[in-house]
Subunit: 371 residues, 2 copies
């Protein structure tokens, strides 16, 4: 193998694919990047067996070939490169020589046969949406997945595509809270399509997506999806099994409905969380009254209490929640006003935008406090 390519292009590609690498794996090959030189293209691939990221860049390929090289080391070595040309050559002794200006580096390579084969996604159903839409869609739900191993399917987010309506709905839930978001698609070849995508893959995909309106295509087969964004392809395995019928969980009738400023609520919750943090349950009490909401918390270090102006319809109510659920949901929303609906002190509350047809919905179970 002998290749010349642009140093900045290479540094960018390596920086992207290493996100799929296992940080600390039992198998050192999963901490490597595979680089394949063929027909004026370098294809870089890294995988942890669940998530695979592949990126292609243009290169002047003099001798075709494949090599497998420690990913973190290659990334550190080339990330200081400026816009010059870098030359790769692989000797018979599996020694990669990198030449760049007056610098020469030699890196010991791995055997390319040991690198895992990545299953291609062919003849798949697909849907298209804007990069910024998919990025925000992931951001609005992924933090609500379950972190414990009790029900593995809940460590992923449900993707539920309705081709006729041109909409994708995403859901994440952990038994105490639920996040749901619906976004418009550009198009879909499937009339209906579901997949449960591991949260870790979505977090890495989120980092690779930009805020532009560029079209992103998502291909789906039985066991995996492939997201194609520009020269980068992200493959991920899906989680097996049926996701919960989340519609059954969503309440339909409410006794109390309030509208309030998102920003004021967020600051009050932040301060309440400072007090409640010393307790393991992070409790915050919400007292809904005719014209105001009192947000309060109390622990051995002190007490916080603030009154917020609200619009209320229905009955006055008092509930106790884990303050972290509110803080995490409010962090990913940016509406000026929110709507919160309650039923009973022991029933979940539902948060949406105060606008009609909120694209997101968060549901939290309250905490039953004795007395």
């Amino acid at each position: 193998m002998r290749v010349i390519c642009n140093g900045l292009d290479l540094a960018d590609a390596v920086g992207k694919v290493i996100k799929a690498m296992s940080a600390r794996s039992i198998n050192p090959i999963l901490e490597c990047i595979k680089i394949k030189a063929e027909a004026n293209t370098l294809t870089l691939t890294a995988t942890d067996l669940e998530l695979t990221i592949e990126k292609q860049i243009n290169a002047d390929v003099e001798i075709e070939g494949t090599l497998v090289v420690p990913g973190k080391f290659l990334n550190d070595y080339i990330k200081k490169m400026t816009d010059g040309q870098i030359e790769f050559s692989l000797s018979d002794r599996k020694l990669l020589t990198l030449r760049y200006l007056d610098a020469v580096g030699e890196i010991r390579c791995f055997n390319e046969d040991e690198f895992p084969q990545i299953k291609e996604v062919n003849n798949a159903e697909s849907f298209k949406l804007q990069s910024c839409v998919l990025k925000d869609f992931i951001n609005k739900i992924v933090f609500s997945v379950a972190v414990d191993e009790a029900r593995p399917i809940l460590k992923g987010c449900l993707f539920d595509v309705n081709g006729a309506l041109g909409l994708i709905t995403g859901v994440a839930l952990d038994g105490y809270r639920l996040a749901k978001c619906t976004k418009p698609l550009i198009s879909s070849t499937a009339s209906s399509l579901t997949a449960v995508v591991p949260a870790r893959s979505l977090i890495e995909l989120h980092k690779l997506l930009d805020e532009s309106e560029t079209e992103v295509t998502v291909y789906k087969q039985r066991s995996g999806i492939m997201v194609s964004l520009g020269g980068t392809k992200v493959y991920t395995r899906l989680l097996d099994g049926d996701y919960l019928n989340y519609n059954q969980i969503l309440p339909v009738e409410f006794s109390t409905e309030i509208t309030l400023s998102r920003k004021h609520f967020e600051i009050a919750l932040d301060r309440a969380s400072l007090i409640s943090r010393s307790d393991k349950n992070n409790l915050v009490k919400l007292d809904v009254r005719e014209n105001y909401l009192t947000v309060s918390s109390e622990s051995e270090i002190g007490k916080a209490e603030e009154k917020l102006s609200i619009n209320m319809r229905g009955k006055e109510i008092t509930l106790v929640f884990n303050v972290r659920y509110f803080i995490e949901a409010l962090r990913v929303t940016d509406d000026e006003f929110l709507r919160i609906k309650f039923t009973r002190p022991e029933s979940p509350c539902v948060i949406t935008s105060a606008e009609e047809n909120s694209e997101y919905l968060y549901l939290f179970l309250p905490i039953r406090v004795p007395g």
Copy 2:
């Protein structure tokens, strides 16, 4: 105690003084801030017994008094404040009530008698210099202090003031390397003054100094110094004992002298360090030849080698160093060209600016490599 002050002023002051607080102390009083309200001024103080930071802000003092409150909690609570007014009141039950807009917080306070008494620095000798000068002075030497406990005096930096010349010289050394920097003073009341200042105090002082030409005064007594910058006062204990006679360590004759680009040298060292990092000694080899310097390193993961253009006077020479010493020194210098002087492969090298009268000097012992 009952006080009203500006929320932003208070947040800024708390953020500054908590730097002196013990992060995790056996004594919880050292994780507190003392706030004294007197004559339209709030004085905030935090200390870890070695370092003390005190900051005054204007306030509307209705009832004078003193309180001692957990520092991290107060900082978190008030840091989201905007430009409004905040009201402090302390009840008989040692409960501090903070009122800010519609928010009310209550914090349990400590007994103020338990807060350590800070020794005042009176009738002291002093010198003045610009804030930006003192900031750069600290930055150029403090990283070279000893980290082990074998010789406690080496955990501080020597300050050596020459009033007649209007100069301050600072030195830090750890047995393998030495850093020295000389800067101009605005004035000095002492003809000669020395102090060994703990590195931890200098690191916090460095953060408080800004890049402006504002005058900073340093007062010195037998056991401590006090640095006065605007409304902030930093007190620190000094280290006991005599500092090494560092002038004896500095070589005066050299066999080889090279001039080279700082930036190119830094990049070559960075790449060499990636290879050598896997060895515990971080070895880098410098081969000085007539027109070029070869920077190389080798370990089980690979090899790096780069050639840099240099100007050389004297004899060709080859030495091996701990690459970290060079990287840390180059990081705090910003000259375009550096000068490095060598004597023998087993004798220290000296780095200065390539300019005449370099204000800094770094000395490193080479590593003797068998064979």
